[in-house]
């Protein structure tokens, strides 16, 4: 059994940044395990731009962003093992993995950084009735087919879901010669960034049907068409509005689910709202020595934030090995206040931190002219103005270390308050 200081599981943007950060914090014995045959995670198939605005100050494509981290990784002594699938982690941080050249690998890790990312919600999970022909894909899968494998999944496409991936693929399919008949979104507002509504749908005259869903898929061997319908305020389809749309491909962009099977095996507590591990300011989970970062913790909008959270995890793992973390007497539980859906991190365990803690949160509803207020046990600690807050766009707020240290009680709350003009 190998013994390793830091084992990072998942070599996407989160894993790469975490491994680099752990190494740069002084830990030489770092392994990065990746199941695909290259590192980069989902980024190599994201050939569109919009990445790295914050980390690099440039608008890069996903593959460029990945390449920069791959180059950095090459400069470190991190041992990268591709084609390696982790089969299990037990509660003692013992990892069993497998790859064609080494066979079965057993590792005892001092610290583990979970960065497995997420998977896509399927047609079955959203209960779309109908037949089960070829031609039904989730958006990430056809992105891989088109951009990596060079294959066209279909010619006449209907897209369900106006999340970022769905809109990006609407544009990509169009530029590769397919006809995208429409994007159908069950909510009354688009699910992704406004930038994508403009540059993917409006630019290409792809109709966006809000408050609509797919109620049936037809076709025995290959998709022949779908039935779409408007939905009522309770999101139930209105039968009288049903319409048949002939097509040969259905693309689903109906949500991402953090992949936490290994986390659960390792005994890590998962939060219901985020579907990911509850983490502290070091990105450490409920199990000492196990950290988590990136989309496995909660689904981020920007890869820049993924990298930031991963850097923290890497530093946290290094600090934990070096015994440099000082525990607070009582941990601070982070509570969701007005119009806040969930917050990461969920708990502050340590004190005398050497940098600010960045809180990420999502709001429940769109609001304009608001004030984000951080308070602890009734006392306001700081606030930040925002012109607008929307559920698809995560909000960030930094809290300096001494502000956290000064908190005597055990609760910190983030509220979104109306700003009276």
């Amino acid at each position: 059994m190998h013994e390793v200081d830091v084992v990072v599981i998942g070599g996407g943007p989160a894993g790469m940044a975490a491994a680099i950060s752990a190494y740069e914090s002084g830990i030489e014995d770092v392994w990065l395990l990746e199941r695909d045959y290259w590192v980069g995670g989902i980024l190599p198939q994201c050939i569109h731009d919009g990445f790295g605005n914050f980390v690099f100050g440039e608008m890069l494509t996903g593959s460029e962003y990945a390449q920069r981290y791959i180059n950095k990784l090459r400069e470190t002594g991190v041992k990268v093992r591709p084609n390696t699938m982790v089969l299990k982690i037990d509660q003692n941080r013992e990892i069993t993995a497998v790859n064609p050249s080494d066979g079965l690998i057993e590792v005892k890790a001092k610290t583990i950084i979970l960065s497995m990312g997420c998977r896509e919600r399927t047609r079955y999970q959203v209960l779309i009735p109908g037949s089960r022909p070829a031609g039904i894909y989730t958006a990430g899968v056809i992105q891989r087919y088109i951009n990596i494998e060079g294959l066209m999944p279909g010619k006449k496409v209907v897209i369900l879901g106006s999340g970022d991936v769905g809109m990006i693929m609407a544009r990509r399919l169009t530029l590769e010669g397919a006809k995208v008949k429409g994007v159908y979104e069950i909510m009354k507002t688009p699910g992704g960034l406004t930038r994508n509504v403009v540059q993917c749908l409006e630019d290409y005259n792809i109709p966006l049907h809000l408050s609509h869903t797919i109620t049936n898929i037809t076709g025995r061997y290959r998709v022949e068409g779908v039935t779409v319908a408007e939905v009522d305020p309770e999101l139930r389809p209105i039968k009288e509005t049903e319409r048949y749309v002939p097509c040969d491909t259905v693309v689903l962009s109906v949500g991402l689910i953090p992949e936490n099977e290994l986390s659960k095996m390792a005994g890590v507590e998962i939060e219901e709202k985020t579907k990911g591990p509850a983490v502290d300011e070091q990105m450490q989970t409920s199990v000492p020595g196990i950290f988590a970062c990136g989309n496995v913790v909660n689904v981020y909008d920007l890869v820049d934030d993924v990298s930031e959270s991963a850097e923290r995890a890497g530093k946290g793992a290094a600090a934990s090995i070096g015994g440099k973390l000082e525990r607070r007497k009582t941990p601070i539980r982070v509570k969701t206040g007005r119009n806040v859906n969930y917050i990461v991190p969920q708990i502050i365990r340590n004190k005398n931190l050497n940098e600010s803690t960045r809180f990420y949160f999502r709001v429940k509803e769109t609001e304009k002219s608001v004030r984000v207020v951080v308070s602890a046990n009734g006392d306001k600690l700081l606030e930040k103005r925002e012109r607008i807050v929307r559920p698809p766009e995560m909000v960030r707020i930094n809290v300096p270390p001494d502000t956290l240290d000064k908190i005597k009680g055990d609760e910190l709350t983030i509220d979104v308050e109306e700003r009276k003009k």
Partner: protein, 594 residues
């Protein structure tokens, strides 16, 4: 024809008139009632068929009544001849026995026939065996308690279930005997009588009756009182009163069983041809001469019609249509393996009055650990009508949540449908054709068809013998078939060995089920090759997990293209017309793929 018969016709017509269908033509051929006419809805067609079948003296029903507005769907897909490096082989010109239909029954019959020195040919019109009801059922090995006495279903099921342990061991197919709990609850008699009466009946009068039913079929059932019942199944509804445990009930993997039967038959000399559809049966002088298929003709004096939901169509080709199949669709919901230990036994809630056409369904698990609920039952006119409707999904959710009220329904990973192939007498129809020597109908297969397959096959062979087939036993018949190793289930030691022998076993392709590239490649090159994405799935489980091929889909397609020597654009999901990819307009074709 004896003089009773015209009376039967009159009785049926009278009944129909009472049902407001005075214009149905009723005739009798031997003991088979023929119905002709036109009604408004498909449900009416089915009702007429049942009513006619209920009469004494009626052996079967041929129901040609048409429903207005029900237009038979045209087959719209294009058939392309796909030539791969390894498939398909050429049809032989002659055979001793042709088995039409590669479902679990057809494959079981082929395997039994391969014990003899005979040229056995199995013809299957889809691109894999088991593509009909054989792969889309609740995968239970029933003991026969749910069948009416006096039926062939009950007789053959009771005969077969004890054979399963040995059969699945020989064929290297997953099998789990965890037993069935038939549970009486406060709702068993709900609405029909005051609750204290219903509860009394449920607790004291029904259980011994259920126990007796189990004993009759050779099982060792016992009554389980409420306390023990809730210890056995802590998540069971608190409205449970008492249960009866049937230890003989088991689970099997129905598609791996069908494939294994076909492979064992092949290993013992039988030939299986996929994508081969029987389009005609040659009959001369009231004797079978051969079959006509889309790939050519085969001379044969003996034909087994095991064509499932299409068996009446095949029978008609031979002039032996002595029954009508009325398709009955069932929907099953499958849940995430995470819920694996939510229940450990199969559980069926008893409710009166009983639904006459299903056994009531159950909440249970697959051999692989996926909890599943179902099935439902809806009569449909279209033999290919496998669309799952919202109403069916809702119905299954509602009906079975009474058994497991706190089950997280959001853990659903798949729903699917299967089409049962019942006749109007609702029993197996296993008989030599009345007017065509050598043609044997093995039809009307609905539950417990999967369980009863071994005994059905024995009966079919007996009939062939009676019809004059010379059956000389082989000396070297090998009943043992080894399947592809299941990497996930190997011990660490065996995993290491397997990877050393074949490094492809170290490359995980399906992340949900931990299926390796080695298993997928072995499946593609197995005795009955997997040439579609679904065929790979049924042999290896790649794509049957929670992400439903989201991760492994692109990889499996690539492997299939590589191993079969075809382009990715030729890779099919499940058969002609189900290609995964289309040619792009923008890019130029040319150059080799990686």
């Amino acid at each position: 024809m004896n003089d009773k018969n015209p009376r039967v016709i009159k009785k049926i017509q009278k009944t129909f008139a009472k049902m407001s269908f005075p214009n149905i033509e009723v005739s009798l051929e031997g003991d088979v009632v023929h119905l002709e006419g036109s009604v408004d809805s498909w449900d009416d067609v089915v009702r007429l068929g049942y009513q006619a079948g209920k009469f004494k003296g009626v052996g079967e029903v041929v129901n040609n009544v048409k429903a207005k507005g029900v237009v038979p769907k045209k087959e719209t897909r294009q058939k392309k001849k796909l030539t791969t490096k390894i498939y398909p082989p050429k049809l032989p010109k002659k055979a001793d026995v042709v088995v039409v239909g590669g479902g679990v029954v057809g494959c079981c019959i082929a395997r039994e026939l391969s014990r003899y020195n005979l040229e056995v040919v199995l013809l299957e019109k889809e691109w894999d065996v088991g593509m009909g009801a054989s792969k889309a059922n609740s995968a239970q090995v029933h003991t026969g308690i749910g069948e009416d006495s006096g039926t062939l279903k009950k007789e053959l099921c009771a005969k077969s279930w004890p054979m399963y342990e040995k059969l699945t061991e020989e064929l290297d197919v997953p099998y789990l005997r965890n037993g069935l709990l038939v549970v009486m609850t406060k709702d068993t008699f709900s609405g029909k009588m005051p609750s204290f009466v219903g509860n009394f009946l449920s607790k004291y009068l029904i259980p011994p009756f259920v126990v007796r039913k189990g004993k009759i079929v050779g099982d060792k059932p016992r009554v389980v009182k409420r306390k023990e019942l809730l210890e056995m199944e802590p998540n069971l509804t608190p409205r449970a009163l008492v249960g009866v445990f049937h230890p003989g009930y088991a689970l099997v993997c129905p598609f791996r069983l069908t494939i294994a039967l076909a492979e064992n038959a092949i290993q013992n000399g039988a030939k299986v041809f996929l994508d081969t559809e029987v389009t005609g049966v040659l009959v001369e002088d009231k004797k079978v001469e051969g079959v006509v298929t889309n790939r050519g003709m085969i001379e044969a004096s003996f034909v087994i019609n095991a064509a499932g939901v299409f068996s009446d169509d095949v029978a008609a080709m031979a002039g032996a249509k002595e029954f009508t199949i009325h398709p009955r669709k069932g929907v099953i919901l499958l849940f995430d393996k995470e819920m694996e230990s939510y229940i450990t036994h199969q559980v069926s809630l008893l409710k009166f009055p009983r639904d006459p056409h299903t056994k009531g369904g159950a909440v249970l698990m697959t051999v692989d650990g996926n909890i599943n609920w179902g099935p439902s039952a809806v009569e449909i006119p279209d033999k290919n009508g496998r669309e799952v409707s919202k109403e069916e999904i809702d119905w299954v959710f509602e009906k079975y949540s009474s058994a497991l009220p706190n089950f997280p329904k959001s853990s659903i990973i798949k729903f699917f449908s299967g089409i049962r192939a019942p006749t109007y007498k609702e029993d197996f129809y296993i008989k030599p054709a009345k007017n065509v020597r050598g043609f044997v109908n093995v039809a009307g297969i609905q539950s417990p068809g999967l369980t009863a397959a071994p005994a059905i096959a024995e009966l079919a062979l007996d009939i062939l013998r009676e019809q004059g087939l010379e059956m000389e036993e082989k000396e070297d018949f090998n009943p043992v078939r080894e399947g592809i190793p299941i990497f996930e289930k190997l011990s660490s030691e065996k995993k290491r060995e397997q990877i050393e022998q074949n490094p492809l076993y170290g490359k995980i392709v399906c992340r949900c089920e931990h299926v390796t590239e080695g298993e997928i490649v072995d499946a593609i090159h197995s005795p009955l090759p997997a040439v579609t994405v679904d065929a790979v799935k049924y042999r290896t489980r790649a794509g049957s997990g929670r992400c439903q091929a989201g991760f492994c889909g692109p990889r499996v397609a690539r492997i299939l293209a590589r191993e079969l020597g075809i382009s990715e654009e030729e890779v099919m999901q499940k058969g002609d017309g189900s290609n995964l990819f289309m040619k792009s307009k923008v890019r130029k074709r040319g150059g080799k793929h990686a």
